[in-house]
C-alpha cells in the first residue's frame, strides 16, 4: 500500500468518524435508559421499511427509502412496547420476537423481488465502509465528498442542536421520570423522540457501517463512558471521544491488516471498553483491587490495635506487645507484621518504645470503637 493515507482513505475515515459520533450520541440515551438492545432491534428492522418503500417508489436512491426505514424502526419499537404492555410478554422476549419477524419479512420480500432489485442483505449486516468514497454527493457538476459523510454530518448537527435545546429536560427525564412528569415534561414524548432519533441514526449509519457496527458503536462507547463519568454531560462527551478513538484505531489497524473496517472498529469499541474496565476509577478492576487491598489493611491494623490495647496495661504486656513476638501472637508472617505496623506507625496510631508497641490516644480510641461495635 503506497502513500497511505490517500484521499479515499481520508474520506473513509471521515465517514467512519461521523458515523461513530452519530451512533455514540444516539446510543448513549438508549444505554442510560437500559434499552441497549433496542439498537439491535431497530437496526435489523429497518430493512423491511427499505424494501416496502422500494416497492412503492421503485428507486434505490430515493429519500423515501430512508423515510420508510426510519418509520419501520419506530414501528419496531412500538411493536416491542405493544407486546410488553398489551400482550403480557417480557421486554427481552418482546424484542427477541419482533426483529426476527420483521427481518424475515424483509428477507422473504427481497428473495421474491430478487430479479428486479439489487438489495444485498449481506451488506446490511456488514456495511460498505470501504466503498463509501465511491458514492459522492454531487452539487451542480462537482462531487463534494462522500454522500454518507454529508448524511451523517447532517445527523450529527441535528443531534447536537436537539441536545442543546433539550439538554436540561432530557437530564431530568432520564434520571427521574416521575419528577419530570410532575413538572410537566412528558417522559413518554421524550421516549419517542429518543427512539425516533435512534432509528434515524441507525438508518443513516447502517448503509456505511453495517447494522452490527451500529449496535457496537451505540452501546460500546456509552458503556465505557459510564464507567468513567457520573454526569450526563461527562457521559456524552466521553462517549463521543471513545467513539472517535475506536473509529480511528479500527480504521488504521483495519487498513494496515487489510480486513473488514467495520469489523475492526466494532472490535476496537470492545478494546476501549476493556481498557476502561481495567483502568476506570471506582469501577475499574485496578481500582477494585486497590480498594480491596486497602480494606484488608484497615482490618489488620484494627486487629493489631485491639490486640495491643487489650494487653498493654496487663501483666503480660512485655510479652504480648513486643514487636518481634507479634508474629507468633497474631499468627501473621513476618513481612505482614512489618507492613501493618509500619503503616500504623506512620499514621501515628502506634508508638514504639524499646521494642514495645503502645497505642497512641487515637489508636486506643479506634480500638475501643472497633471492639465495641
Amino acid at each position: 500500500m503506497n502513500n497511505f493515507p490517500d484521499t479515499a482513505d481520508l474520506q473513509t475515515l471521515l465517514v467512519a468518524c461521523l458515523g461513530a459520533v452519530a451512533c455514540a450520541l444516539g446510543g448513549a440515551f438508549l444505554v442510560l435508559r437500559r434499552l441497549s438492545l433496542l439498537a439491535d432491534a431497530i437496526s435489523h428492522s429497518i430493512l423491511l421499511g427499505i424494501v416496502l418503500a422500494w416497492i412503492l417508489v421503485r428507486d434505490l436512491g430515493s429519500p423515501f427509502l430512508l423515510l420508510g426505514a426510519t418509520a419501520s424502526g419506530v414501528f419496531a419499537v412500538w411493536l416491542v412496547e405493544w407486546f410488553q404492555q398489551r400482550a403480557g410478554i417480557k421486554e427481552d422476549a418482546a424484542m427477541g420476537l419482533v426483529f426476527p419477524a420483521l427481518f424475515s419479512a424483509a428477507v422473504v420480500l427481497i428473495s421474491q423481488l430478487a430479479h428486479s432489485v439489487h438489495l444485498d442483505t449481506d451488506a446490511v449486516i456488514n456495511g460498505r465502509l470501504e466503498l463509501a468514497f465511491l458514492d459522492p454527493l454531487i452539487v451542480g457538476n462537482t462531487p463534494i465528498g462522500p454522500r454518507s459523510a454529508w448524511i451523517l454530518g447532517g445527523l450529527v448537527a441535528l443531534q447536537l442542536i436537539l441536545l442543546a435545546i433539550f439538554f436540561h429536560p432530557l437530564r431530568i427525564v432520564w434520571f427521574d421520570p416521575a419528577f419530570a412528569a410532575s413538572i410537566g415534561i412528558s417522559p413518554v414524548l421524550f421516549h419517542w423522540c429518543v427512539t425516533t432519533t435512534a432509528s434515524l441514526t441507525c438508518v443513516s449509519a447502517f448503509d456505511a457501517l453495517g447494522s452490527i457496527l451500529v449496535v457496537a458503536l451505540m452501546v460500546g462507547p456509552a458503556s465505557s463512558a459510564l464507567l468513567w463519568a457520573r454526569q450526563l454531560s461527562g457521559v456524552l462527551v466521553l462517549s463521543v471521544l471513545f467513539a472517535l478513538v475506536s473509529a480511528t484505531l479500527g480504521f488504521v489497524t483495519g487498513a494496515i491488516l487489510d480486513v473488514s473496517l467495520s469489523g475492526m472498529i466494532a472490535v476496537c469499541t470492545g478494546v476501549v471498553f476493556g481498557i476502561s474496565w481495567f483502568a476506570a476509577p471506582e469501577d475499574g478492576l485496578v481500582a477494585q483491587w486497590a480498594r480491596k487491598r486497602r480494606q484488608v489493611l484497615e482490618f489488620r491494623i484494627g486487629l493489631l490495635l485491639v490486640h495491643l490495647s487489650t494487653h498493654e496495661d496487663g501483666p503480660d504486656s512485655d510479652e504480648e506487645c513486643r514487636y518481634d513476638r507479634l508474629t507468633s501472637h497474631l499468627k501473621w508472617p513476618e513481612t505482614l507484621v512489618t507492613d501493618v505496623t509500619s503503616d500504623a506507625l506512620r499514621r501515628e496510631l502506634l508508638i514504639e518504645e524499646k521494642g514495645l508497641l503502645r497505642c497512641t490516644l487515637r489508636g486506643r480510641d479506634l480500638a475501643k470503637h472497633l471492639s465495641t461495635n
Binding site: I89, M95, V108, I125, L226, S260, G263
Partner: protein
C-alpha cells in the same frame, strides 16, 4: 401419479423436514426455559458471538468440517456467555448493554475473519456465508444424526431433571436452600443452550436463531399456566413450525429460515388472540356467575 406424493416429497426435502422438525423440537422446549428465566435475548447474543468461532473452525481445519466448526462456535459462544456474566456481576454495566456489547464485538471479529477469507478465496469456503441467514436446504443426512442427538439430549436432560429445572426457574433461592446444585444445572442449561444455538445456526442463521428459541415458548405461554404443558407445547409446536415452514418454503420457493420465523410469528399472534378471546369470555362468564350469585343471595335474603 402416486396420490401420496402430492407434495412431491423428494428424499432431500424429507431430510430437511426431519432436520427442521428435530431442531424445532429441541429449541422450542429449551427456549421456553429461556423465556421463563427472562434471558430470551441470550440466544441472539450467542448466535452472533458464535459466528467468528464457526469461521475460525473453518480456517483451522481448511474444510467445512462440521465437528471443527461446531467446536469453534461453541468455544466462542461459551466465552461470550462467561464474559457477559462477568460484566454484569463485576461492573455497573447493565445486562442489556453487556449483551449488546459482547455481541457487537464478537460479531465484529467474525466480520474480520470473513473479510480475510474473502481475500483468500478457495473452493471449500463456498456457502460459508449461508451461516448468516441459514440454509436449511443444505441439510444432509449426517446433519440429521447431529440434530437428533441434540433433540434427544435436550429431552433427556429436561425429563431427568424436571423438578429441579422447575424449582430453579421459578425460585432460585429456594432451590439453593433445598441443597440443589444450582451451579451444575446452570452449567448444563448453558451447555445445552450453546449447543442448540451452534447447531441451529446452520439451519436458521445468525439473525433468526433467537426467534426459533423463543417464539414457540412465548406462544405456548398463552395457552397454559403450567410449566410442563408449556414446555411440551413449545417443543411440539416448534417441531410443527419446522415442518410447516419447510413445506411452505418449498411450495412458495421462499427462503426456509425466514419462512419458519414468519410462520412462528403468525402462530404467536393467533395464540395471543385466542387467549384474548378466551379471557374476555371468562370475564363475561365470571361476571354472570357473580350476578347470578348476587341474585341468588338476594333471593335468600328476601326469604
Amino acid at each position: 401419479m402416486n396420490p401420496l406424493n402430492l407434495w412431491e416429497i423428494t428424499p432431500g426435502l424429507a431430510t430437511v423436514v426431519l432436520g427442521t422438525a428435530l431442531l424445532g423440537l429441541a429449541t422450542g422446549a429449551l427456549g421456553s426455559l429461556a423465556v421463563l428465566r427472562r434471558n430470551s435475548l441470550m440466544g441472539d447474543a450467542l448466535s452472533h458471538a458464535a459466528y467468528p468461532g464457526l469461521l475460525a473452525g473453518f480456517l483451522l481445519s481448511g474444510t467445512k468440517s462440521v465437528a471443527m466448526m461446531v467446536l469453534g462456535a461453541s468455544i466462542f459462544a461459551a466465552l461470550a456467555q462467561w464474559l457477559t456474566g462477568l460484566l454484569i456481576r463485576s461492573t455497573r454495566v447493565r445486562p442489556d448493554a453487556a449483551l449488546a456489547l459482547v455481541m457487537g464485538c464478537f460479531f465484529g471479529f467474525g466480520m474480520i475473519l470473513q473479510s480475510h477469507l474473502q481475500q483468500n478465496p478457495s473452493a471449500a469456503q463456498a456457502g460459508l456465508k449461508d451461516y448468516l441467514f441459514g440454509q436449511a436446504g443444505l441439510l444432509l443426512e449426517e446433519d440429521i444424526a447431529l440434530l437428533a442427538a441434540l433433540a434427544l439430549l435436550v429431552l433427556v436432560a429436561l425429563v431427568m431433571g424436571w423438578s429441579r429445572w422447575k424449582i430453579i426457574t421459578f425460585d432460585r433461592a429456594h432451590a439453593v436452600s433445598l441443597g440443589i446444585n444450582v451451579f451444575f444445572w446452570d452449567v448444563l442449561y448453558n451447555f445445552l443452550f450453546i449447543l442448540s444455538v451452534v447447531i441451529g445456526l446452520q439451519v436458521a442463521g445468525v439473525v433468526l436463531m433467537s426467534a426459533l428459541l423463543i417464539m414457540p415458548g412465548c406462544a405456548a405461554r398463552y395457552w397454559t399456566k403450567r410449566m410442563s404443558t408449556m414446555v411440551t407445547l413449545a417443543g411440539a409446536s416448534g417441531a410443527i413450525l419446522g415442518v410447516g415452514g419447510t413445506f411452505a418454503s418449498d411450495q412458495l420457493s421462499w427462503p426456509p429460515g425466514p419462512t419458519i420465523v414468519l410462520l412462528g410469528f403468525a402462530w404467536l399472534i393467533i395464540s395471543f388472540f385466542v387467549r384474548d378471546i378466551r379471557k374476555k369470555r371468562n370475564q363475561y362468564s365470571g361476571n354472570s356467575a357473580k350476578i347470578s350469585d348476587a341474585l341468588h343471595l338476594g333471593g335468600v335474603g328476601a326469604n
